[in-house]
């Protein structure tokens, strides 16, 4: 279980996160929503212990502040927003890097680590890509590779910063479906997203950041028309439809709903 107790972060005099507390169980897909600048990345950095904060971050009751980088890496994996790759490794090398936390300082990865990396590639069904250069596969495949790296890292919590940014619709679905499968296998995956529809469709739990304050709950409770309208500052309506016997919710922004745009 990932627990935050009373976490606050200040940048100078500005308080970016205000007394945030929540509990997240394993086996869940969690979406973090919030406007730009609401503190999503700051919240991730707090969980990863890369910035100063007050309060407590606990994994299975153990405070992360006291853990070394290596110990923490074995509990939490982090996947930054897909960025320009500074170094072009092959897909296999990229996944193998995930095993670093378990190596001794001067140790090179051996057969055990290689097997672990291959298992991770197989689990995501991308073993056929292993000799490709990372820069030459699609954005969706790159996300799957970084997820495989987190699996090779063997941590039960994976944090992803906007995994679907810059992906086309097909690749978005590929990544989101994969995340759902992995959470059903017992992982806790926390991702930030700008698309409330992705959250409505794929999240088991929602974290909503509004100017430093956090609310959490099931998608149906949190992502209501009223909350979404307030969050994005425009009329948003949530609809419910039944597709093949499954209740599905989605939201739309109202056309012409912004008076200052409509009056131009």
């Amino acid at each position: 279980m990932l627990t935050l107790k009373d976490v606050s972060v200040h940048f100078g005099k500005k308080q970016v996160l205000k007394n945030i507390s929540f509990n997240l169980d394993f086996g869940q897909s969690v979406c973090l929503l919030g406007q730009n600048g609401a503190g999503k990345t700051t919240l991730f950095r707090t969980i990863l212990n890369t910035i100063a904060y007050s309060g407590q971050v606990l994994i299975d009751g153990q405070a992360t502040k006291g853990l070394s980088r290596i110990q923490l890496a074995q509990k939490i994996a982090y996947i930054p927003q897909n960025h320009e790759v500074p170094v072009d490794f092959t897909v296999f090398e990229m996944v193998l890097l995930g095993t670093t936390a378990k190596l001794k300082t001067f140790q090179q990865p051996g057969p055990k680590e290689v097997a672990q990396a291959k298992a991770a590639l197989n689990r995501l069904g991308i073993a056929h890509l292993q000799d490709m250069p990372f820069s030459q596969i699609s954005g969706g495949e790159q996300q799957l590779v970084t997820i495989a790296r987190s699996l090779a890292q063997n941590s039960r919590v994976i944090i992803m910063d906007e995994p679907c940014a810059n992906l086309d619709f097909g690749n978005q679905t590929l990544v989101l479906e994969m995340i759902r499968q992995l959470t059903q296998q017992g992982l806790l995956i926390l991702q930030s997203t700008h698309d409330p529809n992705q959250a409505l469709r794929y999240a088991d739990q929602i974290l909503l950041l509004e100017s430093g304050h956090l609310s959490s709950g099931a998608p149906k409770e949190i992502l209501t028309s009223a909350r979404l309208s307030a969050l994005y500052g425009m009329p948003v309506q949530v609809f419910q439809v039944t597709v093949d016997g499954e209740e599905i919710q989605f939201c739309l922004a109202k056309k012409g709903g912004l008076p200052h745009v409509a009056n131009l």
Partner: protein
């Protein structure tokens, strides 16, 4: 996997080429030695009795050629490994000790030592201190200057710091004694391996090897650092500590090389690039190719430096002739959507 086999062949080939290069370079020289005499002299080292003619050749080998060959290989390997380390640490394939100002800082420290006619130890330590200072200044400026920390930014800042240290060296030359310190500093700055004695090997070899050792041991972790700060942290690397260790090690190698042989430019930039072309970006293997290739490259260039003309050409001039066009190709490649790095 096909990769594993290719790796094995490349590394084996480089090792053999280096061994052969060392053997042939010992044979080459201004003083003519017949090949059978050369072999006799080498096998003579393992025998108790030798003829006077063989002993004369052995003296030449021991005092003139081998010290130079050993240091050419070690400096070539060390400079290349240090260059690759800077490139990985700063996630920038276009930096090296010359561009980060480390070489110029080290050159200033060494020139100061020469100017004040200090002992070898002092020259090396000042060279090390100023080399480290130059890198720290570049990193500090890169951090505090607002704007995006692009690859270009660091190169420009490096140029500025290099220029400052170069003018400081010019100032030392200006006030240096034109009969001894000025020519000493000038010639040494051009970069040359001439006049190296066994004594120099005893001093420099442990420092060069000592600097390379931590880099070779930590080369897997260098891969992780090359991904960037946040990713490296979350993969379980203590980035700050690792970075400091590697910067100190790479700068120690740079400073030692500069104090022995002056500024031999471009090697640290070009050799790692070729190593990556051969074996890819995984430093686990590429660092070995860098070390072996760097040693081989400088050894060959040094053979040209001492044999091409009657009076010796400073090796720094030759490495520039090779390095400058390669750097141009590197820039052209880096502008393509999928760069080599």
């Amino acid at each position: 996997m096909g990769n594993t086999r290719k790796r094995r062949w490349v590394l084996l080939g480089l090792t053999l080429a280096l061994g052969l290069g060392v053997l042939i370079s010992g044979y080459l020289g201004k003083y003519p030695i017949a090949f059978h005499q050369y072999l006799e002299a080498i096998s003579g080292f393992f025998k108790d009795t030798t003829t006077p003619a063989t002993m004369r050749i052995q003296t030449i080998l021991m005092n003139v050629r081998w010290p130079r060959i050993i240091l050419a290989v070690l400096i070539g390997a060390g400079t290349s490994v240090a260059g690759a380390t800077y490139q990985a640490l700063f996630q920038n394939p276009m930096v090296s000790q010359d561009i980060l100002g480390a070489s110029q800082g080290a050159a200033f420290g060494a020139a100061l030592g020469l100017f004040l006619q200090q002992s070898y130890e002092i020259v090396v330590s000042w060279s090390f201190v100023f080399g480290l200072l130059a890198v720290s200044v570049v990193l500090f400026l890169n951090r505090i200057i607002p704007g995006n920390r692009s690859r270009l930014n660091m190169i420009l800042i490096g140029m500025i710091v290099s220029a400052l240290f170069s003018s400081a060296v010019s100032f030392l030359k200006l006030i240096g004694d034109p009969t001894n310190t000025l020519p000493a500093i000038t010639y040494w700055l051009m970069g040359s391996l001439s006049g190296i004695k066994m004594q120099d090997v005893y001093y420099a070899a442990p420092l060069l090897l000592g600097g390379m050792l931590p880099i070779m041991l930590l080369r897997w972790r260098l891969n992780v650092v090359a991904l960037g700060n946040e990713e490296a942290l979350s993969l379980g690397i203590n980035v700050a500590v690792l970075r400091s260790i590697l910067i100190v090690a790479a700068t120690l190698v740079t400073a030692t090389a500069v104090s022995v042989s002056g500024m031999i430019g471009w090697v640290g930039l070009v050799v790692p690039h070729f190593a990556r072309l051969l074996l890819g970006n995984n430093y686990r293997y590429t660092m070995w190719a860098t070390a072996l290739g760097g040693g081989l490259f400088l050894l060959i260039v040094d053979d040209f430096a001492r044999l091409l003309t009657t009076s010796e050409i400073p090796i720094g001039i030759l490495t520039s002739v090779v390095g400058a066009p390669v750097f141009l190709i590197l820039i052209a490649q880096n502008n393509r959507p999928t760069g080599g790095y």
